[in-house]
Amino acid sequence: MKYYTYYPGCSAEATATPLGLSVPPVAKALDMELAELEDWNCCGSTPYHSTYKLEASAMAARNLALAEKTGLDLVTPCSNCYVVLASVNTHLKELPAFREKVNEALAAADLTYGGGVKVRHLVEVLYTDITPEVIASKVTKPLKGLKVAAYYGCQLVRPDGFDDPESPHSLDEMVTSLGAETVPWELKARCCGSSLIMPEPDVALGLINKLLKNAQEHGAQCLITPCPLCQINLDAYQSQVNSKFNTSYNLPVLFVTQLIGIALGIPAKELALEKNIVSPMRVLAPYL
């Protein structure tokens, strides 16, 4: 059994519910104990950190201070939480004056952060600590014949990810360990527009269209991604792309934990497959 402190992130409880629901059963099947960080708060995400930097850093640091007490690595399945928490963590370690100020703010609630937490992305933990080989050994329903486009998005691999920042391979290895096939596609780590989908939908829809087109042209039957924002953009906004660009995509976009769960024989209900907007049932029927 491997032990971690778990930070789901706000999306995992709302727009990315299929991620939030599919992580625990998969972790259990892979002998990981993910103990949710007690009373965690929002990491601040890019919007807070790009407007009121010190406040946002103090907000993120409350989580780090609480996590430090557990003595375990802090693991999140959300790529944006990962980048934000890891970046604040680095700044707090490297900039003493900044750390002092943030600690002064934390002290108002009797908290302090000594810089002792390691922030990790769930995919990195699955790849490094659990390994694709061990995942393969636990597969009970091999996904033979399923063609998957592994979509990394940006913040899993950049700016300081564990994989190649532009031509990553970890998710591909994980997909093949499940018995499925991955399609080679050029845009697997290119931007989906992230939260620009709200203030600048035309810009983001254009980027999403490019991604779906590229994945489809390479024969993908579905995509997988770990990132809540990427998943929502590609899944929930797929119909908007279809009306704007006169396309007819019908590509399911699964969270990586949902796909792993199917291969491990976890019931579809526990993996929240019915909560994906583009239904994955037709493509996944042979494996359920």
């Binding site: 609630a109 203030p199 980027l207």
Partner: protein, 191 residues
């Protein structure tokens, strides 16, 4: 919503110094203007001034012109510029630092809806300790373009019908503690 109190830079502090003082903004002096950032940016064609020019403008002291532009607000934080920059200057972090300065100076543009979206997000995160996505989106549309909400209504409805749009926010237990931390940080000011 927070009252934005415009803060001017202290006398004798250059625009480059200001950007350098924000964590992540410190390497801007090393830029060699190669243009790798602009060539790598997926949204650069929407920027008033593309990334390379943004960095040149900081160093040329073109503060008001840059901070009131839409440029940095189009950064989607994909970090492609950051991993490709041959001088390790982290352009995406510099864009975030410019957003901070733009808000702090009261110069953020009305031409982009992103600053308003960011403010709605901040209000939501501060209000409950966790972001409440539905509330944030409704507020954004009311503040920008209520008619755009009709166009995107099917997306929201789809998420709702699939159990991905809770009708109530989650509030953390330690709201009081979080509030004193944020109030203290605000009082300390700067970065």
């Amino acid at each position: 919503m927070d009252e934005t109190i415009a803060v001017a830079p202290a006398a004798g502090v250059s625009f480059t110094d200001e950007v350098c003082s924000i964590p992540g903004g410190d390497a801007i002096r090393s830029c060699i203007q190669c243009g790798m950032c602009t060539g790598s940016c997926p949204t650069a064609n929407n920027w008033d001034y593309p990334p390379r020019r943004v960095i040149a403008m900081v160093r040329a002291g073109m503060r008001e012109e840059l901070l009131s532009s839409n440029s940095m607000w189009f950064c989607a934080s994909c970090y492609t510029c950051t991993v490709r920059c041959p001088r390790d200057i982290k352009p995406a972090d510099i864009m975030h630092a410019l957003e901070v300065l733009s808000i702090r100076s009261g110069l953020s543009t009305k031409q982009s809806r992103t600053p308003i979206m960011y403010q709605c997000f901040v209000d939501s995160a501060k209000g409950n300790g966790r972001v409440y996505e539905l509330g944030m989106m409704i507020k954004l549309f009311l503040k920008t373009n209520p008619f755009a909400a009709f166009k995107l209504a099917p997306v929201g409805l789809g998420l709702f019908l699939h159990g991905r749009m809770p009708l109530r926010p989650t509030r953390i237990k330690g709201m009081k503690e979080l509030k004193v931390i944020l109030d203290k940080a605000k009082k300390l000011g700067g970065c």
